[in-house]
């Protein structure tokens, strides 16, 4: 057994590692190198400028504005998505109260399960266009509904006071379905007896969720947290397609700023790479923090 070990490892590990290095690691490293140049993207000439791009970035109010928006997303998207996801998953899996010690979902949970998953089946681009029409100020679903109730509807994506929240709502809407399924799957691995015992003790649904389900699901919640935090720091596709950062930069996010700097209104690839490097470190720190803060003792069913 021993002598065949290295060829085996090499065969299995070298190709993927090589692919990873060429297509993932090297572009990352390259971004670091480009971020220290004034490269304008359409010639092979780039002069090293040291950390000048980062200094400009520090004073760039549009970047700060975008970061501020990302911070709000980071504070709200993961929490709301996880809370909603947990709530729906609980209702679908153990919300029902039929039978004395039966643990089942609410009536029609199979239908809900499918419906919640719809957004996950659609591509993000379709979601963005769909909601753009829902938010249409003339004939959109929301405006029509508000007008039908005799309310004055805002212009949704056309008003800096509402646009950001409209995009945020779509972010949560498009994510919840996946976490309902994720949490649902985790819940089904929790032994039924625990719930039956809790029910016999007369615990309410909320107590069950808070005292039993969440502690048992903590690993999954933590993973969800990291995913959603990374999503909140990105948010590029939805924002770019729905508002492109407008009106008046009210929905701008750091990813849109980077894209616009390189491919949009300018061709400053050096500066855009600097934004990318900052994004890289921000995402990394947020992921590490989320894992650290969420660290708890593991519960294993035996």
């Amino acid at each position: 057994m021993k002598h065949g070990k290295y060829p085996l490892i090499a065969t299995f590990l070298v190709p993927p590692v090589l692919l990873y290095v060429v297509f993932v690691v090297s572009p990352y490293l390259q971004a670091f190198q480009i971020s220290t140049t004034d490269w304008l993207g359409y010639s092979a000439e780039a002069n090293p400028v040291g950390l000048a791009n980062f200094k400009t970035l520090w004073r760039d109010e549009y970047v700060w504005n975008a970061l501020k928006n990302n911070a709000v997303l980071l504070a709200l998207v993961p929490v709301s998505t996880i809370v909603l996801g947990l709530f729906f998953a609980t209702m679908l899996n153990m919300g029902g109260r039929k039978g004395r010690a039966g643990v089942a979902g609410v009536r029609g949970s199979a239908v809900y399960r499918t419906v919640y998953f719809f957004p996950q089946v659609l591509s993000v681009v379709i979601i963005a266009l769909l909601w753009k029409e829902v938010y249409h100020p003339g004939k959109g679903l929301l405006t029509s509904a508000a007008n039908g109730l005799g309310l004055a509807a805002p212009t949704w994506l056309g008003d800096p006071r509402t646009a950001f929240w409209c995009v945020l709502a779509v972010m949560i809407w498009s994510n919840v379905g996946f976490y309902v399924v994720l949490f649902g799957a985790a819940m089904s691995s929790v032994p039924r007896e625990i719930y039956e015992a809790v029910l016999l003790d007369g615990a309410s649904r909320l107590t069950t969720l808070w005292r039993v389900t969440i502690p048992l699901l903590w690993d999954t919640v933590q993973v969800a947290w990291v995913y959603l935090a990374i999503f909140a720091l990105d948010g590029f596709i939805l924002v770019q397609l729905m508002t492109n950062g407008g009106p008046n930069f009210s929905t701008d996010v750091i990813g849109v700023r980077m894209y616009d700097t390189a491919f949009g209104s300018e061709t400053k690839f050096g500066y855009a790479s600097a934004i990318g490097v900052v994004m890289f470190f921000l995402t990394l720190s947020v992921a590490v923090l989320a894992l650290r803060i969420g660290k708890r003792d593991r519960i294993e069913y035996s």
Binding site: V21, H136, G138, G158, P247
Partner: protein
């Protein structure tokens, strides 16, 4: 060997691979070089003034937008008629910058690029990197089918200036675009309204239109820069073309000039009096123009591509008409008829193209009377070739464009800051217009925000600055 060992060794393998990656890092910016040696050049003669190599292949990339790509195929057929041995490689895309950026870096760009649309490459970046070939030679070459005239002499006034950077003609703008205020002739005839030539009359007309239950104005709230065009036009007509020169040259306080203040104050009236269709701030250009075509609003600001852009939703007999912006009053330096006309739809030959002479010759084909007439016939748009519409049946809106241009004559004006500094118009003035025309800020704050944007460009040492003479 346990799991930890494997992980440790994998990490070591990763470390070993890192230097190799370091070698790779050069590649995105290291292409190109000075291998321009294998370019195609023929011998110049009277019949071949640009020195085209007759059998040289020509690669053309077209922006597949409102004009489509069929017109370009027709131009290419004309080119191969003259050079039957030349093989033309045609492609069309909507994403010019993303598709072509690697090829520019690599030093293997196409020979002709129609750099247009939302994915357009910022010209400031291209020019400052010397990525564009000088087209000056083309201007002095004789026209293909207008005898006794050089190409330069066949072009409408202003066509060369728009594509010139510090005196070098680098970008051939093919269409001639007029920017004005559009209305439906039918709607106005039915209601007995007449287009107003002074601002006070315009406001009175707006009041009348609103009383009739129609919104006087709508605009592209998602791209509010469309409204900066009539506003700046009003200012130029009041203060003369130097208002535009100051803005283009990023002069201090150019946006806060008296003319700009007068214009902003005037335009604020339509916001204050709620003469804008409810919900416009949430509409994009297509949605707002469609609302206008459906008779929900009377006026819309746009360029002369409007008619073809709206062709599929315009009701029969709508008869759109373009008009200049109203005058502020008798003190205006330019007459009412003065309108903004400019060459648009940019074409360029990259400096590192293999077949530069072929690219220039392709432009000469486009700028021939035959090439221009064919374009106008196919896409219903004017070209920069003077008089090329003669004998071509034009759609209704385009005839009003021709009329407006004739009336404007030598009083026509233009600005180019949007070409020099794409970001200033696309991002900064755009955002300011959004605030202003939705009524969230007043005229003074609006101009301050524009000025702040212009100042930020002026202070940015990484952006090359261009100046133009008055």
């Amino acid at each position: 060997m346990n799991r930890r060992d494997i992980l440790r060794r994998t990490a070591a393998a990763g470390l070993l691979a890192t230097p190799a990656a370091g070698l790779l890092t050069g590649c995105a910016t290291s292409g190109g070089g000075d291998d321009a040696g294998e370019s195609y050049r023929g011998t110049k003669s009277e019949a071949n003034p640009l020195g085209v190599a007759e059998d040289a292949p020509l690669e053309v990339v077209i922006f597949n937008g409102g004009f489509g790509e069929e017109y370009a195929k027709a131009h290419q057929a004309m080119y191969t008629e003259k050079y039957p041995q030349a093989k033309i490689n045609h492609s069309a895309t909507q994403e010019i910058s993303k598709t072509l950026q690697p090829r520019f870096v690599d030093g293997t760009p196409p020979d002709v690029v129609n750099n247009s649309g939302a994915g357009q490459i910022d010209f400031n970046g291209l020019v400052s990197q010397n990525a564009l070939a000088d087209l000056g030679e083309l201007l002095d070459a004789p026209s293909l089918d207008i005898p006794g005239q050089t190409v330069r002499e066949t072009l409408l006034p202003g066509a060369v200036e728009v594509g010139s950077y510090d005196g070098r003609f680098l970008v051939m703008n093919y269409t001639y675009t007029v920017y004005g205020i559009w209305h439906s002739t039918k709607l106005f005839a039915d209601r007995g309204w007449a287009y107003a030539t002074t601002w006070d009359e315009h406001i009175a007309l707006c009041r009348q239109i609103k009383a009739a239950g129609i919104a006087p104005w709508t605009y592209a709230g998602i791209h509010p820069r469309y409204m900066s065009w009539p506003l700046i036009s009003t200012a130029i007509k009041f203060g003369g073309p130097e208002v535009a020169t100051a803005i283009d040259n990023l002069e201090p306080n150019a946006w806060r000039s008296e003319a700009m203040r007068m214009a902003a104050d005037a335009w604020h009236q339509i916001v204050k009096d709620r003469y804008i269709l409810e919900g416009s701030p949430g509409l994009d250009h297509k949605q707002s123009q469609t609302a206008w075509c459906q008779g929900k609003a009377a006026f819309v600001s746009c360029g002369s591509w409007l008619e073809s852009e709206q062709a599929d939703v315009t009701p029969a007999g709508f008869d759109m008409t373009v008009q200049p912006t109203p005058r502020l009053g008798a003190g205006d330096k330019l007459p009412y008829e003065a309108i903004r006309g400019t060459a648009g739809e940019p074409f360029m030959v990259p400096a590192k193209a293999k077949n530069i002479a072929g690219g220039l010759e392709y432009f000469r084909t486009m700028l021939s009377r035959r090439g221009a007439q064919d374009f106008t016939r196919k896409v219903a748009s004017l070209t920069v070739v003077a008089g090329a519409t003669e004998g071509v049946q034009l759609p209704y809106g385009l005839t009003t464009v021709v009329k407006a241009l004739d009336a404007s004559g030598a009083n026509g004006f233009n600005w180019v800051y949007n070409n020099y500094y794409r970001k200033l118009e696309r991002n900064l003035v755009d955002a300011a217009c959004g605030e202003f025309f939705s009524g969230r800020v007043g005229p003074a704050e609006f101009l301050d925000q524009c000025q702040k944007g212009a100042d930020s460009i002026a202070q940015d040492s990484s952006i090359t600055k261009y100046k133009r003479a008055a």
